[in-house]
Amino acid sequence: MTEFLQSLIRGLGSGSIYALLALGFVIIYKSTRVISFAQPAFMLAGAVLVSYLAADVGFFAAVPIAAVLIAVLALGVERTVLRPMIGKPVFVVAIITIGVDVVVRVVTNAFIGLDVRQVGDPWGLSTVTLLGVEVQQRYLVMFGTTVAVVAVLFAFFRFSRVGLAMRAVAHDQEVALAQGISVGSVFALSWAIAGGLAALAGVFVATGAGVDQQLWVIALKALPAIILGGLDSLGGAVVGGLAVGVVESLVGTYQGDVAPWLGPNFALVAPYVLMLVVLLLKPYGLFGAKEVERL
């Protein structure tokens, strides 16, 4: 039981990383109908930025500063690279975001070097005993912060004027334009939010483990999460992200005993199996809107 609870909490912790990244993907998808493959690079850049800033201003000040800076970077990328591509086929745009990802990542890698950089977080690998179960503090922090961020984000979309504008654009860009909403700034804002979320996720990945050049691979785990939850559902992204984290962690704990023939490290690809199973039953994910087809 202890083992189960531990791996569950571990799963929720890493799941909240995936949830933050998935939210970024979904926010960009909802407003621009494009999947941004640049998220991994923003995540990496965020973690690296914190690892530099933390030495001067401390960890807790460095994280919001880095998130804002990465948000500005993402906004800049949207304005310069993505804006000319509005109306072009989505896959051309998706490939462009891969190009952006490569460029940002190579530049960031130059700041990492060959060593592992530390972000200077206060938790490290230390543990705390919660209801008789020993868990790592960082997983609790990740989960708690993600819950708070998600709550703020949902309140923003639900109650603020800008959030309303973003929902309107997600619903129908032309109609939103006709209501006086600046669709362009909604695009830019959604990239900025996604960049900030990615930076936060990057810091979480780096807590306890540090930043190295392979960190970006983790961001790809958000892809099964968004498909699982449905591409255009914010709630689905959170649920999908947490589900991916928990499944990965539980499979990692038990698969060695239950099904050793699947080979070690099967946990890393288990989310994709989960995604395939869900899609066989629900082609638009758990919460995704079914596409309305008209001739």
Binding site: F91, A94, I96, G99, V102, I227, R294, L295
Partner: protein, 366 residues
């Protein structure tokens, strides 16, 4: 219709394989040049071009499913891997370290690789035909990750990560093509082999896409609902597109590492899939010649950036300087894709069309 080559009097004439005179002339000239090239350039460039030709076969395959039938697949690396391992296992040494059956005849393992990969495509198709757009793209991406896992763990077939296994043995009628013969060097023979195979598969693909099936593919791409209404069986044609594309991927995969002779399971990751998508998009989606141009462009790109330190002295050629050639290569790769697609979303083929249209009506090109 002498003297009026552009006047078509029948549908068959319009749909002909090479329907205009310049097309016939250019294609003929290109083939002649390609056949003369191996006697003019060095062996390492020949190997690179041979790899480019193989990549072109794979890109044509991806173009059939993505460019013509409109089903974006990021899973091409998975099918390439299936082809590569089928070919390598069939032609491998039966007494070797890894699985091998000793069937070294090239046509046999080439076709077998294609068929096995095509079957895998058919198996995946039922999932794929239910999904559209980005959902499909990411599910096929999942295939790549699952495939990577399987090939990493199945060490008796693949040799395991970091170790790898020998690639398929290119033996035609008892002659090892990768070893020098009386008249040609090994790279020259491989180059010619890959070129002939590319021509065969390109012609086959061109004929497929100008047939009833190709028109059905295009209808599915443009609007699948409308295609269904006019009587195109969506499930059937989407599955067919996947099967044909995977067949091409299997063939390309089995040849891809013949030039190097060795490969490991790490080669078939996300990056490979992205490269093939980039080939199709940079070349121009929905064109056979575009796929070939894109494949050659992407294959030669690292080589071109490798030459940069000679021109720009601040880039250091080894891994120690402030700006190394490897960084420049990676950045340039990303930047080129970005700039290219912003400036010309129809790709290299689009540029060619613009050039062609300029000269067609020259000097009245407006």
């Amino acid at each position: 219709m002498k003297g009026r080559p552009d006047l078509y009097t029948s549908y068959a004439q319009d749909m002909a394989f090479l329907n205009t005179r310049p097309k016939r002339a250019w294609t003929g000239a290109l083939v002649v040049v390609a056949l003369l090239v191996p006697f003019a350039i060095t062996d390492d460039l020949l190997m690179l071009l041979a790899t480019g030709f193989v990549a072109a076969i794979g890109a044509i395959g991806l173009n059939i499913v993505t460019g013509y039938a409109g089903q974006v697949s990021l899973g091409h690396a998975f099918f390439l891997a299936i082809g590569a391992y089928t070919g390598a296992a069939l032609s491998g040494d039966p007494d070797g370290r890894v699985l091998g059956f000793g069937v070294t005849s090239l046509p046999v393992w080439l076709l077998a690789s294609g068929l096995v990969a095509g079957l895998a495509g058919l198996v995946v198709a039922p999932i794929a035909v239910r999904l559209r757009g980005l959902y499909l793209a990411i599910v096929t991406l999942g295939l790549v990750f699952l495939g990577e896992h399987v090939f990493r763990e199945w060490t008796s077939l693949t040799g395991g990560p970091g170790v790898g296994r020998p690639a398929a043995v290119p033996e035609l009628f008892g002659v090892r093509l990768d070893r020098p013969s009386e008249f040609f060097s090994g790279p020259q023979q491989l180059y010619l082999l890959m070129f002939v195979l590319l021509v065969i598969f390109a012609v086959l693909a061109r004929n497929l896409v100008r047939s009833r099936i190709g028109r059905a593919f295009a209808a599915v791409r443009d609007r699948d609902l409308a295609a269904a209404v006019i009587g195109v069986d969506l499930t059937r044609y989407k599955a067919l597109a996947f099967a044909v594309s995977s067949f091409y991927a299997g063939v390309a995969g089995s040849l891809l590492f013949v030039v190097n002779g060795f490969f490991d399971p790490g080669s078939f990751g996300l990056l490979l899939s992205v490269q093939y998508i980039a080939m199709v998009l940079i070349g121009g989606a929905g064109t056979i010649s575009g796929a070939i141009m894109g494949a050659l462009f992407i294959t030669l790109l690292p080589r071109i950036t490798r030459e940069l330190p000679a021109v720009l002295p601040f880039i250091s050629a080894d891994a120690t300087g402030a700006v190394t050639v490897f960084q420049v290569e990676a950045v340039l790769y990303g930047l080129l894709i970005v700039v290219f697609l912003i400036v010309e979303p129809r790709g290299l083929f689009g540029i060619w069309v613009r050039v062609r249209n300029y000269w067609r009506t020259w000097p009245f090109s407006y």
